[in-house]
Assembly symmetry: C2
Homo-oligomer: 337 residues x 2
């Protein structure tokens, strides 16, 4: 068995994570117990939520313990197994960690995946994985868009946002995306079929409000929020009566003191709703979404760009791209070929 490298959290980050918060540790892989299997991780999904798990605050998952490898969804091939449902050689995915090998049990997020059902096995970390499932259920189940309505998406060029725009369009909605920089805005229109794109960079709050009003002249029925801060406040001002805000992420607030949502009065004025979304609530319903998502990917109706950085030693700079906005699509770390 080759060495097992772990990308380990050794100090809780203050604000943006820095190299001193982590250590690449080599340790032997423990022997398998009954019902366990060993996954050779090929790819890890780098997601904004991981930043939250690094903090010592109560949340939907326990904080990553100091000295533990950084938690992440991974996909790989089973290298050894003492679990009858997880045979050696099969592809599997689960909530594991950024490390060469993960010791796994079944259940929860851990499942076998059918590598032949999608163009690339990495799709199980993007369009057909937690990202795709988030976009699917958060938009359709929480946002409940109806044909003819306007759907506004922040972080629209990001992993979830790019899918949300495409799925909303399939529902017959007008889609408006907000992203940072002209290159991303061009991708919104060209690659993800957004009807309108707004570049938030260099815009004051008032300019952002005006840009949303112009791009959504009939108001916003569903606002899909990945960012928070000024952008959320600006979006709230365009909400229609009975508007639905799907709160999927607040990436602008994960490293800094939160700006705070100052336009909540709009919820009263418009009888509108903000609903937080966590994909783990939908585990029992994953199967109903994976079928259509995989089909849309195969048909070319659902495009998802993947930004793959190579090497476990690059875990931190790859992760930080999410907060710099320097990734082009779903951020994935390749751990093995």
């Amino acid at each position: 068995m080759p060495a097992n490298r772990h990308f380990t959290l050794v100090r809780r980050p203050q604000g943006m994570p820095v190299p001193e918060d982590f250590c690449l540790v080599e340790a032997p892989t423990p022997a398998l117990g009954e019902g366990q299997f060993l996954l050779r991780n090929h790819y890890a999904s780098l997601d904004p939520a991981i930043r939250g798990w690094m903090d010592d605050v109560p949340s939907y998952l326990p904080p990553i313990r100091l000295g533990d490898p950084v938690r992440a969804t991974t996909i790989g091939r089973i290298a050894e197994s003492r679990h009858p449902d997880f045979p050696v050689g099969a592809w599997a995915s689960g909530l594991n960690a950024i490390e060469d090998y993960s010791l796994c049990v079944g259940g929860g997020f851990t499942t076998l995946v059918d590598a032949d059902a999608v163009p690339s096995v990495t799709n199980y970390l993007s369009s057909v994985g937690a990202i795709g499932l988030t976009a699917y259920f958060a938009l359709l189940d929480v946002g409940k868009p109806k044909a003819g309505e306007t759907v506004l998406v922040t972080g629209a060029a990001g992993a979830v946002g790019s899918l949300v725009g495409q799925i909303a369009r399939m529902q017959g909605c007008r889609t408006v995306g907000i992203a940072g920089g002209p290159a991303k805005c061009e991708r919104l229109i060209r690659d993800y079929g957004y009807d309108a794109a707004i570049d938030y960079r260099g815009k004051s709050y008032d300019e952002l409000v005006a840009a949303i009003r112009e791009a959504a002249p009939n108001g916003v029925d569903v606002h899909f929020e990945n960012v928070g801060g000024d952008i959320l406040d600006a979006a709230l001002l365009s909400l229609n009566h009975k508007g639905r805000v799907v709160l999927c992420g607040l990436i602008s607030e994960y490293n800094d003191a939160p700006h705070g949502a100052r336009n909540l009065w709009q919820l009263i004025v418009q009888s509108a709703t903000i609903e937080g979304f966590l994909v783990k609530d939908y585990i029992p319903r994953f199967a109903e979404a994976i079928g259509p998502l995989a089909q849309w990917v195969r048909d070319g109706r659902l495009r998802m760009d993947e930004h793959v950085d190579k090497g476990i030693e690059n875990a931190l700079p790859a992760f930080l791209r999410l907060f710099e906005g320097s990734n082009d699509g779903k951020m994935i770390l390749q751990i093995a070929d």
Copy 2:
């Protein structure tokens, strides 16, 4: 016809309203058109929402125009009528203005009221009026409390809050109220049946968080928000999974720059919801609530304190009590005996 005095908005308030923003204007009452009637206002309801209508911002109602009397729900007796459903001498209520006489048409909020069905006709501005209807529908329809759940209420000694606590208790919930000062907190327990009371005055944010955790050891299932600011942020930290925040008011933010809700991430972590409430959405369903509310009032099961200040010339100091917190119960201005 005696003189008709109007409490008129002449300048838009900056922050807290001041006397120079208003003028008491005497003007003749116009002749009635067909389908109109003239209401001799006896009482006007002073509500925090009126402050919002004084600003020149888009909202669920148009701003009060400069030179117009300040909009308010009033109750009075019909003095003249050219409307077949509104006979002279009957009591009626509607969204009118702070003035001696209001020219009315039917429809919307305007209705005849049965003065004999309640102990005092002012109850139609409190427990059996928009306040009672707000508490009833916002708690039961939006909050959806279930027996055994914990309901947290801010502004709990206020008009809406005092009713919400009592109605939640009738549903078998544990009720925790937050109010300012020991006298109000005593009333929460003694008069409104709250299981626990928290005095926010003199408490830091961290102390508020700790006090809520202590008073709601099983977490908060329904949070009924009338205040906003630090108090909302503290409450969000105690929300349970699938918690419901009923956003009924944000009185702490109406005169000042909003503090902003900084703990919205809790909505994601708890798959929780904030829903804004406007009673006018429920106009078609008012009848289903007025029956039970009037019955509870007659039975003594629903207590509502009313704070009546006399004289249209006292409209502004009476209104400002809402923001100082110096009122003891629903704030009502008596315009005529």
